[in-house]
Amino acid sequence: MPDEKFEPTIVAFFCNWCTYLAADLAGTSRMKYAPNVRVVRLMCSGRVDAQFVLDAFARGADGVLIGGCHPGDCHYQEGNYKTLRRVALLKRLLAQMGIEPERFRLEWISASEADRLKTVVNEMVEQVRALGPLRPKLAQEQVEEAVHT
């Protein structure tokens, strides 16, 4: 049941050269977007190890957003392509883990696309809000609440 008061937490991994600058531009342009994202700046979206995404979900993120440079624009030539390939596999893995596709998103957002950043963040926050909290039940809790289900 979606909770009306529920404020989702979105962990966002933004590339230093594009999406992070877009977020900066959105800030200096006084644009408003949902305050639910916790931004982690990385040098490249290619730095995003699947472990980062899994760890974010395990620690209570309701959604994870990766922002990188448009194909062909990578500061390191092909980091974003590596991300694209990994994300394809990771999406399939997360589906097996019972995590809805709306909770994990990869977007190409260049340094000048502050508007796009605002749209993507707002859209994702609303989608995840509608899904409700993820609250992964880690092994410990599961065994404690144990069996009679």
Partner: protein, 323 residues
């Protein structure tokens, strides 16, 4: 009274392969028997639980526990052996990481029981009976161990001093572990008793791994006749060597099969599946979304492939939401 160090072996959720691995030491088992006094080993010796309970606490030098923890009985035995032993060794992939039984964490408890007791083609269970912790039959109260909702590796239940990796641990690894434990200077606590580098480093095909590895698509072992002299990953097979701890002497690769990851991650990796997926995902050649999707068709079950042995010990541990 024997002055030899006393040890125990026990099995939890496992297939018996780890017991077999000890017996597979062949003649060397005699060296083990002459070096230690085995006080409890349900698969081979006729000691009972009350014999263990009668021991003074900390009486055993070591308890070697294989198998994952998935029932109240296994949890109770793990706690009992922890109390009686100075050193607890998680023996084999299931005790270390949850192993193959840990893959059940992809499904809710109810589905696991239904699949095992109602739906499997070889099962006849017309009244649809499922095992339950307490039931009555002919006026008698019957009790069974509780079946937990999740499979756990041993160290999520009791503190573990050492890990012996492998499905099953190889004779060399067992030999090394025993020697280490019996030596005057035992290995540092909580260590995995195997080398701490990736399998690729000891792979006989290492030199054939291209400097820049790019593959057009993933293929499954039955789809190609793999060349015996070339890196399996370079041939498109999902070989987890880059994300798996060494120590097995690349047995599977020597049999022309890709590594499936049973030795678990190295100490620098928290989540073996996540790391394997990240590493292998990046070597796909395609750059267009559609072509990438086609390239990964050869991995129809990413969770079962990348977390073959480590799902229960992974960051998420299994399905994030239980139905």
């Amino acid at each position: 009274m024997s002055e030899k160090p006393r040890v125990a072996f026990y099995w939890c959720a496992s297939c018996g392969g780890c017991e077999e691995a000890v017996v597979d030491l062949a003649e060397e088992i005699l060296n083990v028997v002459s070096a230690v006094d085995i006080r409890f080993w349900p698969v081979a010796l006729d000691f009972k639980k009350h014999d263990v309970e009668a021991m003074p606490d900390q009486d055993l030098l070591a308890a070697f526990i294989n198998g994952a923890i998935r029932s109240s009985e296994q949890e109770e035995m793990a706690h009992l052996l922890r109390r009686k032993a100075r050193v607890v060794v998680a023996f084999g992939a299931c005790a270390q990481l949850g192993g193959i039984p840990g893959l059940a964490n992809l499904y809710p408890r109810g589905e696991v029981l239904a699949a095992a007791y109602r739906e499997s083609p070889s099962t006849v269970n017309e009244s649809g009976i499922l095992p339950s912790a307490a039931s009555r039959d002919n006026g008698h109260e019957l009790h069974l161990p509780e079946f937990w909702a999740r499979v756990k590796p041993l160290d999520q239940v009791v503190p573990v001093d050492y890990y012996v990796p492998g499905c099953a641990p190889t004779p060399n690894i067992i030999r090394g572990a025993l020697a280490g434990l019996l030596s005057p200077e035992p290995p540092p606590p909580a260590s995995v008793l195997a080398p701490d580098h990736a399998l690729c480093e000891e792979c006989p095909r290492r030199d054939s791994k291209p400097e820049k590895l790019l593959i057009p698509k993933f293929v499954r072992p039955h789809q190609i006749a793999a060349r015996e002299d070339t890196c399996l990953l370079a041939q498109g097979l999902v070989c987890l060597g880059p994300a798996t701890r060494a120590g097995c002497e690349a047995l599977c690769v020597k049999g022309n099969m890709p590594c499936s990851g049973c030795f678990g991650p190295t100490s620098r990796v928290r989540d073996q599946g996540g790391k394997a997926l990240s590493g292998l995902g990046a070597v796909i050649e395609a750059s267009e979304e559609e072509a990438i999707e086609a390239a990964i068709e050869g991995v129809p079950d990413p969770a079962g492939t990348f977390y073959r042995y480590s799902l229960a010990a992974s960051l998420l541990g299994g399905v994030a939401k239980q139905a």
